[in-house]
Homo-oligomer: 210 residues x 2
Amino acid sequence: MAFMTAHKKQNQDYHHGNLKQVLIDTAVEIISEMGAKELSLRKIAQKAGVSHAAPYRHFKDKNAILSSVAKQGFSLMLERTQKNIAKSPGDELDHFAIIGLSYIEFAIDYPSHYRVMFGTRMENSYFKDEFKPKSIPVFKLLRDTIMDCQEKGLLKDGDLNQMAMAAWSIVHGFAMLRIDHHIPDKKLNEKRLNALKRSVVMTLYQGLRP
Amino acid sequence: MAFMTAHKKQNQDYHHGNLKQVLIDTAVEIISEMGAKELSLRKIAQKAGVSHAAPYRHFKDKNAILSSVAKQGFSLMLERTQKNIAKSPGDELDHFAIIGLSYIEFAIDYPSHYRVMFGTRMENSYFKDEFKPKSIPVFKLLRDTIMDCQEKGLLKDGDLNQMAMAAWSIVHGFAMLRIDHHIPDKKLNEKRLNALKRSVVMTLYQGLRP
DNA sequence: AATAAAATGTTGACAGTGTAAACATTGGCA
DNA sequence: TGCCAATGTTTACACTGTCAACATTTTATT
């Protein structure tokens, strides 16, 4: 059956080499299609064409897979934000707004990732100390940008932590409300959604001006 | 064994009459102690001292119990907010700030309720159309208050929906980040938490001024 | 008061879940 | 080649939500 090895992912019964990444991707797919609540290890395994216990060779437990999804999410988010900033010729204040908009847009474009990234943390969490704000590059970027704006007098001279928290709160809140469907979907076309997004970020912006 | 009927809740094996409310309360307890993820129908039943299928006489399914928890939560939230407003001699703008603070404080004081109230909505949600913003009194109160402030020139003359969304976003975001432990608990004593809360609401406040 | 009906609670069953242990197969290295 | 570590499978167990069949208790009807 050598001819079957022509296409890679289909019929390599054993040791197909990149199962780890396949499982992560499959998890994301399932969350997208059926919601995080429906995600099960066995569904992941089945959809990946592998026995239900195979994932345990690559992940300690189910949470470990979710943790990987989150890690990939933070990476995507940073990348996108930096790209958007690089595209903009504006000053630091513009960058501040771009960070907020990028944050919201990432959440809307990758809701599965986002929900895993910012879901409830319990004591027995799969996010030991890995994903605390201080160790997440995107948050460092936010803080630095606020500081830059403060130094140039573009934002008010308040407590940095408090200002960063206000910023994080408003974009996180909007993103969560949106992807969890608390904002009615009806009659909210792309144009209106964009206006709403901008309005929310502008409120923040205005709230932190000198 | 007639003497056993002296105390009510203990030994009425059958038909104890208020099982429905007992189950709701037990659900809240379990969520508080072990997190929403750990909540199971069978644990509820066991803790309530009843067989594992008994809840089905009072609730269609597990989600129906959660729905009841949410309903009770909205009720508590409205009550508390109204009480806080009644206590305040201030003007509409003060009321606006009080609504925001009350919202955050409710979420922090009743995190189990709050998580159920504002958790992810899926298509197969237990919240059919019951808990849409428009039909929730607290949100009506928020909108009305913003309108009053606008009429008196206390808040800017923007789109009401957009302004309400900005307000909701920031308090929801902060509340969620807090109860889901994304804001590091360490070194955040009550005093600092209060300052943070106020700062967040004040940012919103400032962002919506004329 | 006797009895039928409705409400409420229990038992047993089933499919699906996460996870661990025992077993099987493969690929690479000596 | 032959061994061994890596990878995948099978089997098993306790737990979950839910349903159907059965048991008991309360309420309504005669």
